[in-house]
């Protein structure tokens, strides 16, 4: 520890997040990918088909314009689905 670091500590300048928290966050993220059967391109098509089946019960959707992807923004992983709707189905 240098004198500068000691002074910074005394003045409370060490406001940076401890690096172990970054390590844990990055690990969580990378392990979601690793554990999801190695590649998302095996899971996503299956998920897409089932989504179409479920949503079609309630809405008339444009299947060709449907887009399902995994996005990693702000160190969070999200499932992003863009589903163009042609119209609502009349419920019986």
């Amino acid at each position: 520890m240098t004198v500068l670091q000691l002074l910074q500590r005394l003045w409370g300048k060490e406001s940076e997040r401890p690096s172990k928290e970054q390590a844990k966050e990055r690990l969580r993220l990378v392990l979601v990918h690793d554990r999801a059967g190695v590649t998302p391109d095996r899971v996503l098509p299956l998920l897409k088909d089932e989504l179409i089946a479920v949503i079609s019960k309630y809405m008339d959707i444009d299947e060709s314009g449907l887009d399902v992807t995994l996005s990693t923004e702000d160190s969070q992983m999200a499932l992003v689905a863009s589903i163009p709707i042609r119209g609502l189905r009349q419920r019986l």
Binding site: P18, S19, K20, A23, R26, L31, D34
Partner: protein, 267 residues
């Protein structure tokens, strides 16, 4: 009753599998158990030098697998502890020289005679790893508090599960308490938040490991070493003792504590 066959593995290289195998083995032998260590890292053997037994090798694992010597002939008795034995790896062959089926046979034969058969796995997840886990019924996973090593440990947990080796236990190696204290290193609690596994030991980063490896004397024999103490505790946990899981602290008195408090000492 047949002995326990335990594989020591990690995925990532250089995290301390061989040192762990040597020291847990030595500590178990010091408790009076009959222990044999198998170096499964064919082509890159190292367990012999860590134990200081490199000058005694005549036959090796590949000779046994190929039937060119008897199992008994290949075993090297430790010079300090007469219940500890080593089955060395071949140095001039490769991983393909042994098949998982042969490893199953060798470990089963050894388990007839020994209380513990510890298998030191090579790094990686290919043939050498598959050989190492073939005959095992328990597994210890070694990792260090780094992103890369923990990631590989997660992969290994998955592969062991797929191979029906359930409930592996985790050894967290090279923990620096000073870095943990200031939040710059993951501790066991942090790693256990991420990995689905139970712990069995925390090994502090300790210079005495380097010194003891230089000399070929396992640190588990050093009563003053903190790492040695941690290895002895792992051995006792394997024996069924319920010891609290805390890393051995440095016994540096009030001056050390004061220096650490004001941040002048790195550990």
């Amino acid at each position: 009753m047949a002995g326990r066959v335990i594989v020591i593995t990690s995925g990532k290289g250089g995290v301390g599998k061989t040192t762990t195998t040597a020291n847990v083995g030595m500590a178990l032998a010091q408790l009076g158990r009959r222990v044999v260590l198998i170096d499964a890292d064919i082509g890159l053997r190292n367990l012999d030098v860590v134990l200081g037994l490199e000058n005694r090798i005549v036959y090796d694992l590949v000779h046994v697998a190929e039937g060119s010597c008897r199992l008994r002939q290949a075993l090297i008795r430790d010079k300090r502890c007469d219940t500890l034995f080593l089955l060395p790896a071949a140095q001039t062959r490769d991983k393909e020289a042994v098949a998982p089926e042969q490893m199953r046979k060798i470990t089963a034969d050894l388990a007839e005679e020994f209380d513990y058969v510890l298998v030191d796995s090579p790094a990686g997840i290919e043939r050498g790893f598959k050989n190492a886990i073939a005959g095992a019924s328990e597994a210890l996973i070694v990792t260090t508090p780094e992103v890369s090593a923990v990631r590989d440990a997660d992969r290994i947990i998955g592969l062991l599960e797929a191979a029906e080796l359930h409930e592996p236990r985790l050894i967290l190696n090279r923990v620096r308490l000073d870095m943990v204290r200031r939040g710059d290193m993951m501790n066991m609690d942090d790693v256990l938040e991420i990995l689905a596994i139970k712990p069995i030991g925390i090994i502090p980063d300790d210079e005495s490991i380097i010194v003891s490896t230089n000399r070929g004397e396992p640190v588990a024999l050093d009563p003053h070493s903190r790492a040695g103490q941690a290895y002895r505790e792992i051995a006792r946990r394997l024996e069924g003792e319920d010891l609290p899981l805390v890393p051995p602290q440095a016994t540096d008195g009030w001056i050390g504590r004061l220096r650490r408090f004001i941040g002048l000492q790195s550990r």
